[in-house]
């Protein structure tokens, strides 16, 4: 599967620019909008790789649900104060952060340079998937047969998280009113 280079550079460029916007924007809501753009660009790249299901899920779950929830919370808390001001950071913190990010970047470059090329392909090549009836069919068949245990475990984990969140929220509400007033 050849990726059309124009679209790849387009989506990658948008992803990079939007990622930069996420950390450079002062307002958290604007950052969140930029993050949605990042997700969208990633979904475009996934779709270019013929992974339509992953692309759809990427938009549906990350951009469509999680970021909406994020935005909801940000706007509800009215966090209009800038989350992080680079100019007020300590010089040492700035220096350490810069060095660390450079090291991380170097590590990534090193990892990509030294990875075996082309990457080893498993059973699930684009042709095999197409022959077996498309992304969603193959993925769901695998998920509900071979990987049923991890799938169920994940759902139990999420359920535990939900119950935990409800429990925490409920306990706060049952405090006496004097205790809540600041």
């Amino acid at each position: 599967m050849e990726i059309s280079p124009i679209f790849f550079y387009l989506f990658a460029g948008v992803a990079l620019a939007a990622s930069a916007m996420v950390i450079l924007k002062r307002n958290p809501v604007a950052s969140a909008f930029s993050l949605v753009m990042v997700f969208f660009a990633f979904a475009g790249i996934y779709a270019l790789l013929d992974a339509h299901l992953i692309a759809a899920i990427q938009i549906l779950v990350y951009a469509g649900a999680i970021m909406v929830l994020f935005l909801f919370v940000i706007m509800l808390l009215s966090a209009d104060v800038p989350s992080f001001d680079l100019r007020r950071a300590h010089p040492v913190a700035r220096a350490v952060g810069g060095v660390l990010s450079l090291v991380l970047f170097g590590f990534f470059v090193w990892a990509f340079k030294n990875s075996p090329s082309p990457a080893p392909l498993g059973n699930f090549t684009a042709e095999n998937i197409e022959a077996a009836g498309g992304n969603s069919r193959v993925l769901s068949e695998l998920m509900f047969s071979e990987y049923i245990l991890p799938f169920e475990l994940t759902s139990v984990l999420l359920l535990a998280a939900i119950i935990g969140a409800v429990a925490i929220a409920k306990r706060k509400q049952s405090l006496p009113t004097e205790g809540r007033r600041k």
């Binding site: 979904a43 339509h52 299901l53 990427q58 549906l60 469509g64 935005l71 498309g134 969603s136």
Partner: protein
């Protein structure tokens, strides 16, 4: 060298037709909404300009275009201008995978009446439709107005709540037809129902296997959820004139405002197409006319396509009218009622529907 053949021109024509239909939905629906609401309320509505007041929409459009486009000083300009576009584009994108007629064979190639046949089908619709809320949130937030912000907040929470039941209610359909391809789902609805629970139905009974008949609970949940997703009454809390003035588009005027209106009507169109495709047999329903028309060969095939399109758009038209009809019948829910309905009624109902459908599929009742 690229040689444009008939197939190529047909594809171009298909795009042109679809875009024309989608773009003309907003003005026509604006007229239908105004006339329809008037007639439902024993009034007449706009009836001066053109036959039945049909040209009122054109006048509105001209007014919208030539009106001053004020940008309030307190908004954040970039996102303020971006928001109408962000709400309109997903509405346009969603229609791409909806089949509005079956396929036809031309020059040995299958020409399908659908802009794109993705193998994720319905997931694509949901993923793109879930982006529509960003336009509203962005508008609400960038307007820097407390009412607009409230509208945006309401919209986001409403979307999150009802997207769940929307997705889960469609799972039943996906299970019943064992496909996420909209083409397969529509094709499956062309067959007749042979099973009613554990009992087999007689062969001569021509009940079509439409989604609404085999998934009644799923259909009710889907219909409710799609009303909430399109922000139409009784779920138009993001606008809520009497509470938060106009909600998210409070600070908008002229063409920017009309883009929001267009987005709403386009969303309605897509929602109606979805209801038709998933629950009312898509383009099925007018094939019997084919036996009355004495045409043969390719002409017969084209007649079939025309009939299918007619059936599809008739059904879509009915549901568009249904949106208007419901809007002028039901009052707006209170906010807590919306949340209660979403989480305490619709979500358990859709989960129960999945369970029942799973049982039915397992025992071969479907």
């Amino acid at each position: 060298m690229f040689e444009p053949n008939l197939y190529f021109w047909l594809t171009i024509a298909k795009f042109a037709v679809i875009m024309t239909i989608i773009l003309s939905v907003a003005p026509v629906m604006a007229w239908v909404e105004r006339r329809g609401s008037a007639l439902l309320q024993n009034r007449l509505g706009p009836n001066r300009i053109g036959p039945f007041g049909l040209f009122q929409s054109i006048c509105d459009a001209i007014k919208f275009m030539f009106k001053e486009d004020p940008v309030p000083g307190h908004v954040s300009k970039f996102y303020y201008s971006l928001a109408p576009v962000v709400s309109l584009v997903p509405a346009f994108m969603t229609f791409a995978v909806i089949p509005f007629a079956s396929s036809i064979e031309i020059d040995g190639r299958i020409f399908s009446f659908q802009l794109a046949n993705l193998n994720v089908g319905i997931l694509y619709i949901f993923s793109i439709a879930s982006l529509g809320v960003y336009g509203i949130i962005m508008a609400g937030w960038s307007s820097n107005n407390k009412y607009a912000l409230l509208g945006g907040l309401r919209s986001s929470s409403q979307m999150i709540s009802y997207e769940l039941s929307l997705g889960l209610s469609v799972i039943g359909i996906v299970m019943a037809f064992s496909s996420v391809h909209l083409n397969d789902i529509v094709a499956g609805q062309g067959e007749a129902i042979r099973q009613l629970g554990p009992w087999a139905l007689p062969e001569w009974l021509p009940i079509p296997k439409w989604g609404v008949l085999i998934q009644p609970i799923g259909f009710i949940v889907f219909l409710t959820a799609i009303f909430a997703e399109t922000n139409r009454l009784p779920f138009d809390l993001p606008e809520g004139e009497s509470e938060i003035i106009a909600g998210y588009h409070l600070e908008y005027g002229s063409m920017k405002f009309s883009l929001f209106m267009m987005a709403e009507y386009t969303n309605m169109f897509v929602a109606s197409s979805l209801i038709t495709t998933l629950y009312f047999g898509g383009w099925h329903g007018l094939h019997w006319v084919l036996n009355l028309v004495p045409v043969e060969g390719l002409a017969r095939e084209w007649t079939r396509i025309v009939l299918e399109m007619a059936a599809f758009f008739l059904k879509v038209g009915f549901f568009m009218w249904f949106f208007v009809w419901v809007r002028w019948t039901l009052p707006r829910f209170r906010y807590d009622q919306v949340m209660d309905l979403g989480w305490k009624v619709m979500l358990p109902l859709s989960l129960g529907n999945i369970f029942i459908t799973a049982l039915a599929v397992y025992y071969g009742w479907m």
